[in-house]
Subunit: 646 residues, 2 copies
């Protein structure tokens, strides 16, 4: 029996000799970022040994100076005696951690306005099929002694005009007490379906004005929960945080692998439900004084893996050829089936998936982007963890997925982070001094860099000659912001710790740049292949919609300059943010939109890039700044001048 | 912190000073019988203090001799220091305990034959709507990459001819693994409903021949579980035990009161499900090597209180005027809703109740007794804990309930027990010697006396002059089997401990007799009032069916002699045993019978005796042996001769 004292968390835990330190942390709900899920390949799970000895090894990820200070990789460490550990604060909370972020009225209004426009343009009913009615039941007497539930049914039949009521055992359990608490005057919440209603909730007295729904976007990296007033359709509040599954791997592949381990599926499900969504809901309920039993409808969008893990369904065949998902359409689900912190009888709808790697986040995104109703050809790119691309118009929609990894959300980048407070979201570099000018979300001290910041940074490094078109740092520059480690790997310092009074320098390394180039190359080549498969090229595009949690200030120009986006007319581009959330919101507030979402799932075609003959060549060509074939990027060619040489 | 060592159970538990001994036992799953639920009124929770001191008081239930030996009432005892306790073995298991009893092939065949007769006489389909089919799915390829669940649906549409499939999330969770385990050849179990099927189970390979259902009779005192092969309709096995709720009170009123206490509802639900039904199911599964996932349909019959507690629904208004039940008809239920040890998606159907005290056990009983299809007038009497009476024929059915208490199942009788091994089920008394001749179930040593035995005993005591028509023991008889305690309460010794080598004498006291007379008086007066309410009398009866767990050898003659049953032609009477179980079985194996059961619930009329003006007078008149008005019992009048005087 060994004691591990996590000093940073004031938490001492008991474990056995020989246990893995990362596992010990996980088992005790201490968050240590581990994007590679403990394969000793990412180096993110670095912790500091304060006291005692462990069985570990120095790896490439640990600098000599860090090794001397006691830094070790948790995934690569076995405990052999009582120890004290410090988990660096950036790992445990800010980077990918569970900090809950609240609502932004302006953005909420934008979601509402965008949804309203879709609804109005398509003559959708701005209505759900859920209602709430205050009813005054006859009080029972010895002569009118029908049972409680029949008394409600009689009222519904005589006064509301439905023939039948349906209800769960959970609802039944509430009935006797609730109707007597308020002298047989109650408010019922119900879903209408032809001549029948299903009662979802019963409350004492008149509480007709409390009726809520929730739209949820389950991203691989981030989760957003959006509470909606089902009467006014207004967004009451929003909360987001990292997806607690991150501790089991940064991308879907690592999570799928983890899901096959003992209890892996359960851990992953618990992580997203109990450790992510339920706390987010709870925070909103407390802040807005909401009774969870009044939350009776949910629309949830996530990629195919997220949807499966959310339901606790086996996902291993998603990653094995021929890549078969367990399900695409939402099964019938209510709150208690999943253990969500909402009414037990609440209706839960999952946005449909199209294929193993084009999921409900994309169908929801497409719903809100309006491709299905557009005369023009729209290219839709979702820059999440992985990238998904849809191309089409009202007559057809083709989709594909690229293994872009989590780089656009800050994953796989040593100082990367989600687009939340403390993230560097814009960068410009002075060409003379190489001094970086930073914009930081929340105007706070910088903690790391988010996707939009990385795009700016790499573009600026390219234009200022800090990196060449292969992404290698120029060794001839004599500048204190440029340095090389003992393995000759270069890095650029975005923020010295002394400049901002922070714990460590914020730097971007050649490894980071390489990771990012592969991510942007995957997107570009995916889009090119998809359009090519239709016998077209980029000139056929009328509009490009960029979605995803990359940050609020995606610089289109810079994205083109690095070769993430095609070099076409700038006015065709629009950044549409979290389109998956907008789509979920749409399906939540309009039953017509929900039906359309189901249709989109049925109608979209999927192209499997991995078996598409030209894709690999396209990808390799795109793994340059901006591209091997500079002729595809005339704007960049002109700007780079001499620097165009590789 | 105090230690209580239950020596009889080899179990030491920790509790706080001042805690109630009965509560301590309950909290630690040590069974102590407490029919009055700890009100110091029944005296059943007698335990022996072996060591240490307690805070208790001597009550009427403890004889001087017992008090000296250390006997105390657990319900009346607070712990104040470490103690050692012995729970008498008859209390902890045999009497009302959880001894599981198995099947009896002869009785099983009787159930089958009786059900078959009803099915054939009424042209019912001897079929359920559940089927099982082995299917060979196409194996997925990169060109045929539809998701797993759509692959099943495609097969069902193309090969089985249904348009749509439905399933729970639990079923979905099994699909990916199961279909691959057997190379895409699987067996599906499903319920048909028009053009749609709901899949209940999926298994690898061909397992078409395993398909089971369960019929359950939840009595207040006893629970019987009956596993049925849904193909052959044969009873595979049966198991029964006491209802573990007994520790919270012997009758429904005490249980309802307990349900209103903190966690009371949960404790009662756990007792019947986790401590009674699930262990019975488990015992059957192990014995017969059954996979619980192949148990996909259940029909459950219980009185209104049992049905409510089974679902965890509040029952307090059942016992308060105007006696309103929460529900009568079965809500839609599947296995996981209740936590039953069956397939999570299994269909569960509760036999409908008619009113607060005429429940699903009666509608199921009526189904199997065939009153609804009879030209003749049938009087149906269920002698369970409480007595329910139905009178009618195919044109009308009237029902009522009498507060008979648990006497017919051995409750409220000092040496009473369920009709299980060790129960005295028949008694005759030699008129000269007053020596009792006993028939014991299982030909074992006697443990106590069951309902049929008590009827015989009281009848024989009356005929032999041991008791008079008020049920008082004759003080003038000089016989060692008759004795009186310090309070002048008489008792008759059925079995001396020395005779049988048992722990204590088995006796019946004047208090027991009084309890039983009130029980039989309630039944007789209930039947009389019900028939009178239709403007008829007992002469209108064509048949009398007696149901209930009173024992296998109900002596009709003796039952008439003591005034439990009306003094009419003997050939009109039939004892039909556990009709509730037969009805559940019927509804399980025939969907037509299930529909008929639902109809019976809708069509039966309920008469509330407690507000019926003449009932109380009828009851008081019936609290004699056989009745105040001996003219109603001409046979008895003749037999008693001189003893007829009160």
């Amino acid at each position: 029996m060994i004691r591990v004292n996590f000093k940073s968390h004031n938490k001492e835990v008991i474990c056995s000799k020989g246990e893995n330190l990362l596992e010990i942390a996980r088992n005790n709900k201490i968050f240590i970022d581990a994007p590679c899920n403990g394969n000793v390949s990412c180096g993110k799970c670095k912790v500091k040994l304060l006291k005692g000895k462990v069985d570990t090894e120095k790896t490439l990820h640990i600098k000599d100076e860090e090794w001397e200070q006691g830094y070790i990789l948790a995934c690569n460490t076995k405990v052999i005696e009582d120890i004290e550990i410090e988990v660096p604060s950036k790992l445990s909370s800010s980077m990918h951690g569970m900090k809950i972020e609240g609502s932004d009225k302006k953005k909420d209004q934008e979601i509402f306005d965008r949804a309203k426009k879709i609804i109005e343009d398509n003559n959708f009913d701005f209505k759900t099929n859920i209602e709430k009615t205050y009813i005054e039941l006859d009080k029972p007497t010895i002569d009118d002694n029908i049972c409680d539930i029949d008394r409600i049914e009689r009222y519904v039949r005589n006064n509301l005009g439905y023939d039948e009521i349906d209800y769960t055992v959970e609802l039944l359990r509430k009935v006797p007490e609730v109707i007597r608490e308020s002298d047989f005057n109650v408010t019922i919440t119900y879903v209408k379906k032809k001549n029948k209603i299903t009662i979802l909730n019963i409350e004492p007295g008149n509480n007709e004005n409390q009726l809520y729904g929730v739209a949820i976007d389950i991203g691989t990296t981030s989760v957003v929960v959006c509470l909606v007033d089902l009467y006014s359709k207004e967004i009451v509040d929003k909360a987001s945080s990292g997806n607690a599954q991150i501790k089991y791997g940064a991308d879907v592949i690592h999570r799928i692998i983890y899901s096959t381990k003992k209890n892996g599926l359960k851990h992953l499900r618990d992580a997203v439900i109990d450790e992510t969504i339920n706390p987010l809901l709870e925070s909103i309920y407390i802040k807005n004084n909401i009774d969870k039993d009044n939350v009776v409808s949910l629309v949830i969008a996530g990629n195919t893996t997220m949807s499966s893990l959310f339901l606790g369904v086996h996902t291993d065949y998603l990653r094995q050829e021929p890549f078969i998902p367990p399900f695409l359409k939402s099964p019938k689900l209510i709150g208690k089936d999943i253990g969500l912190n909402v009414n037990d009888s609440a209706y839960i709808f999952l946005a449909p998936s199209v294929a193993s790697y084009v999921g409900g986040d994309i169908t929801a995104g497409v719903l809100s982007a309006g491709i299905w109703t557009s005369e023009e050809n729209i290219l839709f790119i979702d820059l999440g963890t992985n990238g998904e691309i849809v191309f089409g118009n009202k007559d057809y929609m083709m989709s594909c997925a690229c293994s872009a990894g989590p780089a656009f959300e800050g994953g796989g980048i040593s100082c990367g982070m989600r687009a939340s407070n403390g993230a560097i979201e814009k960068v410009s570099i002075d060409k003379e001094t190489l001094y970086p000018k930073l914009s930081i979300i929340g105007d706070d001290k910088p903690i790391g860099i988010c996707g939009s910041g990385i795009i700016d940074l790499i573009c600026q490094m390219l234009l200022s000659g800090v990196v060449d078109r292969r992404g290698k740092i120029n060794k001839d520059l004599n500048n204190d912001r440029i340095r090389f480690n003992e393995h000759e790997i270069g890095e650029y310092v975005l923020a010295f710790k002394e400049e901002y009074g922070i714990e460590n320098d914020i730097t971007v390394t050649e490894v980071d740049i390489d990771n990012f180039i592969r991510a942007k190359g995957a997107i570009y080549s995916g889009a090119a292949t998809l359009i090519e498969s239709l016998g077209m090229d980029f000139s056929a595009i009328d509009k490009v919609y960029i979605a995803g949690g990359i940050g609020n200030n995606l610089n289109i120009e810079n994205s083109i300059l690095i070769g993430l986006l095609p070099d076409i007319e700038r006015e065709k581009f629009a950044y549409i943010g979290n389109s998956s959330l907008v789509g979920s919101y749409l399906a939540l507030v309009s039953k017509d939109a929900k039906m359309k979402l189901q249709d989109i799932g049925n109608e979209m075609t999927y192209v499997e890039l991995s078996v598409y003959p030209t894709y690999m060549d396209e990808f390799i060509s795109a793994c340059f700044l901006p591209h091997t074939n500079i002729e595809q990027f005339p704007t960049v060619k002109e700007l780079l001048g001499d620097k165009v040489k590789i």
